[in-house]
Symmetry: C2
């Protein structure tokens, strides 16, 4: 954070009420940009998709960012080297044989503008009888683009893993189809091939020469797009924000084989259509391939960053688009030497996912709404302000725990300028943001405890669990994602632990409680890890020795001996799989406890978990007995329970979508299992819709209203001294302590 | 059915309005019994638990039944031969080690009056480290009744399989504890031991000599009680109406080993506490042991029945209490030579379970309510009548398809006599019952199609699937049980097929559609059977060739390749396990179809099934999109769908608790998948609360109102001719056809 004032430093903040803010601009909106930049205290301007920087951009702001694409944007190069396009392993339709001959059109149901069959890699194609789970011989009809399986067994299912060349950059397809753009289609080129590898370095040097006005090169991003396939109707067919599908480069596969001796096949990448998505418990092969790819990426990223630095500029990475292989929490990232990272902010989780990335001095969040006509249209001024406030409130509680260094916006500033109440509100929020950052620079926020989130990925995917498409809601995940969203703003320190970490060295000292959250068999709950006796020993002994364990959804799930939860002794609950129905379950009365003291009933468990029952001795806190089952026996699903386990404690929660009350419930559960109930009413708001962050080194409190309504609360200072407060909608109130 | 008039025939019916009815009596209620017997047309009297037959019972009715216990009732014998008591393999509590020494009190949490540790069989005890899944050495402290495990691994779970002697007959414990009886505790003796085997035959002979008045020996039942264990508080701890737990006789185990070479261990019977319950996919060892036990039982049953016959009496078996090993649908039962079976009637399923038992000439149902003070108390006269009507309505629709031969009641007749409106109503129902039986004797009811219910048990457990305790409701089963309850009264022929049947010889000719219903991994949905390619070939080709498949709950579930339903190609739906979230699912719009024409929304799927989605091309008929998810994407759970599969069709239903509308939904689904939509409006009621049975050989219809409200309906005759009808509450109307 030194040299803050130096021109070109991406964290520059020239005065307390200025700086730390990036705004979009456009050649056609120079004067307007200047006015807004002054009002908001913006110190950086950037171009966006669909806009271009004006001449002399430094007239607007001391910092100028420009988007830079590494693997697209030069169709001439792409056309000259089609053999160096990105490759992707795809799965064909699954076809049930009704005779001995099966013909499968490989690219049917894929967007023909996105993919072309890669006959150069036909030796990597694999056909399967999925009913048998066996590979079968096949022939390819190149002209028709079909695979032919002879000697098929009637009523078995067949499909084919094949390789395609990527013809069009997927993010551009998305923008093209979503925003009806009519631009030239960006082809792609893969720097794992030697010519392109050399080319991307030369191109960057040229570009830097040609763009002397640019202070910060905003890489969007590096080499490999996350998995994003479109169907024949131009609609999204497959999306995995973590997917390595589009780095199926033959060059990488060959390099990996040379280094590791492991010859990855199509099926290793496709896994019968699961495409090694992050919900799968990762296998060793795939982990090693990820490591190889991210090592390759980090090496080339470092070369590019060094070029940028040699030209006296700063390098910023956008966490999105082609971010695959960068693994910001992986072992190679910090060494790349990036000056900054930037990403889109959807809530507290994305704040923490960005703000904690190691190895970059500056972390910038691009806030919502994006200045696009879908939001910024006539009659929606209040809607835009409300949406911004909502997004700000959800991000703010996380910023108070671990702030970003900068905020920013994207889109057409000229559109935003038409909504004066939005413009005014951003000015206020920008000041609030700067206050938060500068407060946190003076003192780390007070934490009551340290929590370890335990899953198969651990720190490699810090704040990244339970996500499919970036920030999108899925019915199957929101009841688990809510746990991380709640954590992002709670006064607890959060670390991410993998099962392998625990197997290797146990639960680290200082961790007061573990959280395991997710659906059975997934990497997040842990799947087959829970069949490892060593893991069970370590977790059980950790809890028994006086620590806490909070399980949400299907924690420690691994079906065995008719039971599901491997830690049912710790949790005091298990899920009925149908094999222990004969055992009478009498523990069905709900009790009050420290954990549910704020909310006795009506807790929103989201999708919840079915068929959970309490073992004898467990303290049930909430059980769902539908009114229509009244007078029935053998009924009731436990939704919330606590259990004593030797010297430790556990809490089970059926699901936890994010809301203020649930964040409070989780906080109480964490304190309870850690025997820290006494810490509750210190730096605390009695009303769960308000939260308190305390900065002990400057004896200052931030009290926030997380709603758009007035909230009355009792604020407790760090000594437990109560004061009644009335908070305005969305208010942040700074309170100086009495010390 | 010949010799109907002969004294002692259990199906005797002396005139159209007399007979086919058994009533309880008591020595203290002779005159009252005579009056009621005349009013109801009863032709048989019986004793019950807690009552005794009067002298000269034939003054009341031409037939006299008396309860006979084979393995209890002679405590003198039991005391003399404690080594021939029943044995049971039990599982101790599970204890987590917190040091290397684990002490497990074996009978803790069991009722001490029910079990005693059987040190004579200590060589059969087994201790387990369940965390490792490995057997471990142990010592027994006989005085303390504990097992001692030294060298335990801290934080592993341990428990012990052990053998106990049964001290008290479980059904009597139930009655004793439920009705606060104060009687001598019946001990038990097991005829797999040679002395008792001889004794039970001699005893029966003596008893027959001493009970010359008795026409029908009502065996209650034979040798082995279903699994029923009580806990230390005298409450039910474990109940499995199908459980072989209480026939863990060392003599049987040794005999089985001698015959088969298979040495069953404690763990084979206990299976980590699952006790080989019927929800487990049965393994080969256990199947063979069941076969051995039921062969043994049938042999001795036959000897006892022959003794009864030699004494000129009839033998009747009560399907309950000690019925384990009799397997009425097994290969040995028909050869036993029983004259009659009797069982408790809870609804249509129990009617069919009894009425279809092969090898017995007479099938009697004991109807509810039981004449006990819990129902027959002051102020509950209308309640008793209503309860009886409800139970009658639910049984009647099944009786119309496959009637019982007799009906009966149990309890204290003197109590029932105090409720004149109940007495009158039984008289009416008894006449209705006789009408039904005699109609069905003249013509089999018309069926539109033949349905095969496919599970791991097949015909061995006809009408017995998804049951835990006899007739009791469980939250995890009612959404599946409803399918059989619906089937029991539908105009379809029902057969039960096992996966092994289908693997051996395919789906039998004439079966129009298959049903597979149940929760994943259970014997009812099929579990690992669905990983057998041969099974998939046979079922798929069966459907493809023009037949139907109806799946309810988690049909064909076997988790593989990220998918759950092995027949997803047939069903057109799959359950999202979290591994294919990245794949976009667009088929979320509900359509109308023949299947849901009666009910467009608001179908009660019971517990339903979560996370089911439709593949492309499937016709979704109902999808649950919660109002709170409005404006969310990636949402919706398919509840009802149909799919074309080559020449065949399928229907998926998320769950089907029994009610009139759901029975109709199932019927429509079955007709639809069988391409028999045209058969719907023939011998049919437009209103699902009414149903029609047609007897073609006498061109007669029975139209029933299945509710206690008046119902208006359009009745269609066998030619589809409509007539509007108004049915009184609970009415059965006989309609003569026009042919």
């Amino acid at each position: 954070m030194e040299n803050r004032e130096k021109k070109g430093d991406v964290c520059c903040a020239s005065s307390p009420k200025k700086g730390r803010l990036t705004i979009p601009t456009d050649a056609s909106f120079v004067e307007g940009t200047k006015e807004i930049a002054a009002l908001w205290g913006a110190d950086a301007v950037r171009d966006c998709d669909g806009t271009s920087l004006p001449k002399n951009p430094h007239e607007i702001a001391p910092l100028v960012y420009k988007t830079y694409f590494v693997v697209r944007g030069d169709n001439e190069w792409a056309k000259k080297h089609p053999e160096e396009a990105h490759r992707v392993f795809l799965l064909s339709d699954t076809v049930t044989a009704d005779s001995s001959l099966v013909r499968i059109p490989l690219l049917r149901h894929y967007l023909k503008d996105q993919f072309a069959l890669d006959m150069a890699n036909v030796h990597r194609f694999q056909a399967f009888d999925r009913t048998l789970g066996e590979e079968v011989p096949f022939e390819i009809d190149e002209k028709e683009g079909t695979a032919l399986i002879k000697n098929a067994i009637p009523y078995h299912e067949y499909n084919v893993d094949f390789v395609a060349r990527l013809l069009w950059h997927p993010t551009q397809i998305y923008n093209y189809l979503t925003n009806h753009w009519d631009v030239e289609k960006d082809m792609v080129y893969d720097p794992s091939f030697p010519k392109t590898r050399q080319y991307v370095k030369e191109h960057l040097k040229r570009w830097l020469e040609e763009n002397q006005d640019v202070d910060v090169v905003r890489f969007t991003t590096f080499f490999y797009q996350f998995s994003l396939f479109f169907n024949e109707k131009g609609k999204e067919k497959y999306v995995d924000w973590f997917g390595y599908g589009l780095c199926g480069s033959p060059a990488l596969l060959d390099g990996f084989k040379k280094e590791s001796g492991i010859a990855l096949t199509a099926e290793d990448l496709i896994q019968a259509g699961q495409y090694n998505n992050p919900f799968l418990v990762p296998n060793e092969k795939f982990r090693r391939y990820m490591d190889y790819v991210s090592r390759f990426c980090a090496g080339l990223m470092k070369e590019l960053v060094e070029i940028v630095h040699r030209h006296g500029r700063k390098a910023m990475m956008f966490l999105g688009d082609d971010w695959i292989g960068t693994e910001p929490y992986g072992p190679y990232f910090a060494d790349v030497g990036l000056d900054a990272v930037v990403g889109s902010i959807g809530g507290g989780v994305t704040v923490r996912m960005l703000s904690e990335i190691p190895g970059a001095a500056c972390h910038e969040g691009r806030f919502l709404p994006y200045f696009f006509p879908d939001e910024f249209h006539e009659g929606n001024e209040q809607g835009v302000v409300d949406g911004f406030n909502k997004s700000w409130r959800s991000a703010r509680r996380a910023l108070l725990r671990k702030p970003l260094d900068r905020m920013g916006f994207g889109g057409y500033l000229s559109l935003a300028a038409k909504f004066p109440s939005f413009v005014d509100r951003v000015a206020e929020v920008a000041d609030e943001f700067r206050d938060i950052v500068e407060t946190a620079e003076k003192s780390a926020p007070y934490c009551t405890m340290k929590v370890g989130v335990l899953n198969a990925w651990g720190s490699l995917r810090s704040w990244m669990s339970h996500m499919v498409a970036h920030e999108l809601w899925y019915q199957q995940i929101y009841s688990y994602q809510g746990v991380l969203e709640a954590l992002s703003g709670l006064p607890v320190e959060v670390v991410f632990l993998s099962f392998d970490d625990v197997l290797r060295s146990g639960v680290p000292d200082g961790v007061d409680a573990l959280i395991n959250v997710g659906a059975r068999d997934t990497s997040y709950s842990g799947g087959s890890y829970w069949d490892n006796p060593r893991l069970l020993e370590k977790i059980r002994s950790y809890v028994a020795k006086g620590h806490g364990f909070v399980g949400i959804g299907e924690p420690s799930a691994y079906a065995k001996d008719g039971h599901l939860f491997a830690l049912r002794d710790v949790l005091g609950v298990d899920e009925e799989l149908g094999f222990t129905l004969s055992q009478d379950k009498y523990n069905i009365e709900a009790h009050e406890s420290f954990v549910n003291a704020d909310k006795k009933g009506g807790i929103d468990y989201g999708e919840g978990t079915k068929n959970v029952y309490a073992l004898d001795g467990t303290e049930v806190l909430d059980i769902d007995i539908s009114p229509r089952f009244i007078r029935k026996v053998n009924v009731g699903e436990v939704k919330l329970a606590v259990n004593d386990y030797f010297g430790g404690r556990s809490c089970y929660i059926a699901g936890l979508p994010y809301n203020g009350e649930n964040a409070r419930l989780l906080y109480r559960a964490l304190l309870y299992v850690s025997h820290k109930e006494d810490a509750l009413k210190k730096a605390f708001s009695s009303n769960p819709n308000a939260e308190v962050s305390y900065y002990p080194e400057i004896d200052t409190y931030a009290v926030i209203n997380n709603t758009d309504h007035t909230q009355e609360t009792v604020f407790y200072d760090a000594d437990g001294e109560p004061t009644k407060l009335m908070l305005k909608p969305t208010e942040l109130r700074w309170i100086k302590g009495k010390k």
